[in-house]
């Protein structure tokens, strides 16, 4: 049973588990100083509404032996369990259930698997990649293009992959951010609200523009990645957040996707 008070104990156990995994077959004592330090902490800032549980941050840092004690440890890997505006899910849960459906990970895959294994064994949970469908990706690009950014530094880019060819073909379609925003502003009727028709119109405009120039129907290909000044998202669940102002909006969307995949 998970309890926030025991975060430091979890950190110790996880640390021992990681050390044991690295040195398979050798006995490891819990509490002995290890090469990799594990820290679990609560992040109360990272939540959406009142009903959301505060996030839990897991950090793996390496202790280098040569440097003096008060030098900073290098962070090897970090992960964060969070829930941003996940009201649908928390409504149906019993009182003392801690529900954090979204997990963000940054770092090497090998650490992710070790940490994930430990959490699965200890708390009986299941980790799965968040697969983002092309449908959700179109929503993301529509929503993020419309966000106001001071200096538009990067273009709005869409990457498509063409299926069933002898050599895989990727098409990258980049649009100047101000042009994209102008297009979206003409489509969106009510600020703050987005409907499915508006998203469809937006995408159709982009597709037909491409078709006019290159005679390729992008609607027949698979949208795998979208990238805007706010954030970029790949269908395998790899997300990059570029603008801190809109962080909670992006996380809210991801939480919603995570919840829909549970049910």
């Amino acid at each position: 049973r998970f309890s926030r008070a025991a975060l430091r104990d979890y950190a110790r156990l996880l640390g021992a588990f990681i050390a044991a995994e690295r040195q398979k077959g050798l006995a490891v004592e819990v509490g002995v100083e290890l090469d990799i330090k594990v820290a679990l902490s609560s992040l109360p800032e990272l939540q959406g509404s009142e009903q959301d549980q505060p996030a839990v941050l897991v950090q793996l840092s390496s202790r280098s032996r040569a440097s003096p004690k008060n030098s900073e440890d290098k962070i090897l890997w970090s992960g964060c369990f969070c829930c941003v505006y996940g009201d649908d899910l928390s409504e149906n849960m019993p009182e003392d259930f801690t529900c954090l459906p979204l997990f963000l990970a940054n770092g090497a895959e090998s650490y992710m698997s070790v940490v994930g294994n430990w959490f699965q064994k200890t708390f009986d949970c299941i980790f799965r990649r968040l697969a983002i469908s092309p449908f959700s990706l179109t929503w993301m690009v529509a929503m993020w293009t419309g966000c106001k950014v001071d200096k538009a530094t990067s273009a709005v880019e869409l990457v498509f992959s063409v299926p069933r060819l002898p050599q895989p073909l990727d098409i990258s379609y980049a649009i100047h951010p101000e042009d994209a925003k102008a297009l979206w502003d003409t489509i969106q009727k009510t600020p703050g609200e987005i409907t499915q028709e508006e998203v469809d119109v937006f995408m159709d405009c982009l597709y037909s523009h491409f078709h006019r120039h290159f005679k390729i129907h992008l609607s027949a290909t698979k949208l795998v990645k979208v990238s805007t000044a706010i954030a970029s998202a790949h269908c395998d669940g790899i997300v990059k957040m570029l603008h801190s102002q809109y962080l909670s909006g992006v996380l809210m969307l991801l939480t919603e996707l995570a919840i829909s995949q549970i049910q």
């Binding site: 049973r1 998970f2 309890s3 025991a6 104990d9 979890y10 156990l13 050390a19 040195q23 077959g25 050798l26 006995a27 490891v28 004592e29 002995v32 100083e33 290890l34 090469d35 032996r65 019993p94 895959e109 090998s110 698997s113 994930g116 294994n117 699965q120 064994k121 200890t122 708390f123 009986d124 299941i126 980790f127 799965r128 990649r129 697969a131 395998d236």
Partner: protein, 749 residues
């Protein structure tokens, strides 16, 4: 003669294996000679039958494999019996057997019985070091290594007959294959012997590693600690000694008082050396794909796959949940009631009963599926969260691993065994899992009907009883689609699983009256509706199925099995529902060509009658307060069927009397046109196609000398004899039917 040649040439390949054994057993010799040789040598032994080369070559390949096995046995017996020092260079027999052992070891690994022989040879110093090294390097286990071989090897080691380098290599081998030794009690008992070898400087690091693997708490003795400290004083701070000392300190901190550096470094050199790669190769070859219990990291195994494979373990070991209340650890020893019984130690039922008050579910709920004791415990515990956890995990796993719903997944055998595990757990608990039910609803529309078929159909039979309308579209729809378009055997399997589903639902009603566990509001009428829906659904399936399969006997048997359960619902399961089979089932059964189905139909009609009679009696006696009564329509329908049946089998009046709209009523003119003589009696118990075999046998018994089969003889007294004869042949159904439904006017005639 051509044929004779062919026969001879296909038979002769066996002979070369016995005659020219030498040239075929040694694989390396084959390889040296090149590929043209197999044909040459086989042609030497064949008569000139050119076309048969394919068979010859095939037999040769088979012969090669056989000769591999033969050569291992020969090699082992050679090594067992060889005496004295033999040098490698001059002895072709030794070379040959050595090569045989090496090649087999590299391909499949060595079987357990070979280790003792080979280790004896290696460590007894019979051969030169080159031979010993080659043998040691090929000691790759196919499955396990028996403990005795290690014990005898250590005893040889103590005789010091082998050279230092061989001893070293042996220790390295022992460290590498340590996990493959099947039992370790005797090896543990040799701890002192291993400890003795610490004095040898060259062997010391490896001995330390072996001791590290073997040490248990009882091995840590003060004199051993002192010895290690002495060694350390002599040789300095060696990492292997440190490792052993820190392990001793872990077990008995009071005995090891020196301070040890607490940073864990790699204590032991990786000594897996030449065996590791070969063992991996052998293991992969023997097992095919890597077993699911191994964690496979994304990137190394499946670069294109989008799934993470490290989190899929369908078979979970039960491990105790960790107590997160660390502060209370100190008190655990004082209050033994706080201590939880560790789940890994739960082996027997009495243990479960003794510790039931302090048992905790394991950290991964999925592991209860394979543990019957924990399943018992789950039945007793009323905690909602365990069900939440189990169903969540099960639902996720089923969704992820479903081989026809998920594109990348081609691992059918594992998914099959997972489904089988779930089914066994459901049978054990005698109830279905909601997570499984949801999975079936989601995946049946996408199912192709052949993947994991037996497992899926078995799971269908455990779908819990519920009154939701979803079941119609999610279950009946897809099943019907598959049913109509599939083979006869699939149809039979579906009917069988639907019969079991019906029985499970009926049992639900009888056994479990607790309303908490039903999603139904347990009104009797609700239950009756759901069951009636199922029976009507099966009736429709059966009717169309029989038409499609042209009244196949096999299908009829399964259909009638279903109705055998249906006919007794009132008396056996206490459910006030009586549904007769549709005409599309009744008439094909009545007119079937098989006495088994006819007999079964008779039995079923008899049971219907019994149920109806009992219901009428209850109604008339007015003892119970009845919420129901069978409608007159039911009685009328039954009477119609029974009239047809009696008319058919007994009174020979079926063509006139059968009033059923889909029945056998036909005008006499039409019947005359068929030009069949005596059509009236053509379906009674003498002339019915299903019964004709019996009547013929009967006639042969009563008039053995009469070769013309005069069926008209069977009347009057002989008719009774005939009935007795039929009953004696095992037609119990017919017996009860006739006795119950037919009033014999005159018994004596």
């Amino acid at each position: 003669t051509e044929k004779m040649n062919q026969i001879r040439s296909s038979r002769t390949p066996k002979r070369p294996l016995e005659v020219d054994h030498k040239s075929q057993t040694d694989l390396s010799a084959w390889r040296k000679r090149g590929r043209t040789d197999p044909e040459k040598s086989s042609q030497n032994h064949q008569p000139p039958g050119g076309q048969k080369n394919d068979i010859n070559q095939k037999n040769d390949v088979g012969g090669k494999n056989d000769s591999q096995e033969v050569s291992l046995e020969k090699a082992l017996s050679y090594f067992e019996k060889v005496q004295g020092r033999v040098s490698l260079r001059n002895n072709s027999a030794l070379q040959k057997h050595l090569a045989a052992v090496e090649s087999i070891a590299l391909q499949h690994g060595l079987p357990p019985e070979s280790f003792e022989i080979l280790l004896n040879v290696v460590l007894s110093g019979k051969f030169a070091d080159t031979v010993n090294t080659r043998l040691l390097k090929s000691l790759i286990p196919a499955s396990v290594i028996p403990e005795n071989s290690v014990v005898t090897a250590v005893s040889w080691l103590c005789t010091n007959k082998s050279s230092g380098s061989i001893q070293l290599l042996f220790l390295r081998w022992l460290i590498t294959v340590f996990d493959f030794i099947d039992h370790k009690e005797q090896v543990n008992a040799l701890y002192g012997f291993f400890f003795f070898f610490l004095q040898d400087e060259k062997l010391c690091p490896y001995v330390c590693h072996v001791l590290y693997l073997l040490t248990r708490k009882e091995n840590v003795k003060p004199f051993r600690v002192r010895r290690l400290l002495d060694l350390q004083a002599k040789m300095g701070m060696q990492p292997h000694l440190q490792a052993l000392l820190s392990l001793y300190k872990l077990f008995c901190p009071e005995l090891v008082t020196i301070t040890l550096p607490t940073k864990t470094k790699t204590y032991f050199k990786n000594s897996e050396g030449p065996w590791k790669a070969a063992m991996n190769a052998v293991r992969q070859r023997n097992q095919g794909s890597t077993p699911l219990t191994q964690a496979v990291f994304l990137g190394t195994a499946q670069p294109q796959s989008r799934k993470r494979k490290w989190n899929t373990q369908l078979v979970l070991p039960a491990s105790s949940a960790r107590n997160s209340e660390v502060g209370t650890e100190k008190y655990c020893d004082l209050f033994s009631t706080d201590e939880t019984f560790p789940v890994e130690q739960l082996q027997t039922f009495p243990q479960l009963l003794q510790n039931i008050h302090r048992l905790e579910f394991p950290s991964q709920m999925g592991s209860v599926l394979t543990n019957p004791l924990l399943l018992h415990y789950m039945n007793c515990v009323r905690d909602e969260s365990i069900y939440l956890r189990l169903y969540y995990w099960m639902g996720q796993m089923l969704q992820e691993e479903c081989t026809w719903c998920v594109v990348d997944n081609t691992n059918e055998t594992e998914f099959k065994s997972f489904l089988e595990t779930i089914y066994k757990a459901e049978c054990f608990l005698q109830e279905g899992f909601p997570a499984c039910e949801e999975f079936l609803y989601k995946s049946l529309p996408l199912w192709d009907g052949s993947c994991c078929r037996p497992e899926i159909l078995k799971l269908v039979s455990w779908i819990p009883l519920s009154s939701s309308p979803e079941i119609k579209s999610y279950l009946y729809g897809p099943l019907a689609q598959l049913f109509f378009t599939s083979s006869l055997y699939f149809k039979c399997s579906v009917l069988e699983s639907l019969k079991e589903l019906l029985e499970n639902w009926l049992n639900c009603n009888v056994i479990d009256m607790d309303p908490e566990f039903h999603s139904l509001n347990t009104t009797l009428s609700g239950l009756v509706t759901v069951v009636a829906d199922l029976i009507h659904f099966v009736g429709r399936l059966s009717t169309v199925g029989l038409r499609l399969e042209k009244n196949s006997t096999l299908l009829l048997i399964f259909v009638l099995d279903f109705y055998e359960t249906v006919c007794d619902m009132y008396l056996k399961y206490n459910l006030p529902l009586l549904i007769l089979p549709p005409a599309g089932v009744f008439y094909p059964a009545l007119l079937s060509m098989d006495s088994v189905t006819l007999n079964q139909l008779c039995y079923i009609m008899y049971r219907y009658r019994t149920n109806l009679v009992a219901a009428k009696e209850n109604e008339e006696s007015k003892k119970k307060i009845l919420q129901f009564k069978f409608s007159n329509e039911t009685y009328r329908e039954y009477n119609q069927y029974i009239t047809a049946m009696v008319g058919c089998l007994w009174t020979s009046t079926v063509f006139q009397k059968d009033t059923h709209p889909q029945g056998l009523r036909m005008d006499e003119e039409l019947l005359n046109k068929t030009l069949v003589k005596d059509f009236k009696t053509s379906f009674n118990i003498v002339y019915h196609p299903a019964m004709l075999g019996y009547s013929v046998n009967f006639l042969k018994q009563i008039c053995p000398e009469d070769t013309t089969l005069n069926f008209k003889l069977i009347k009057g007294k002989r008719w009774d004899w005939y009935l007795e004869y039929l009953y004696a042949q095992g037609l119990e159904g017919l017996k009860v039917f006739i006795e119950s439904s037919i009033n014999r006017v005159s018994q004596a005639s």
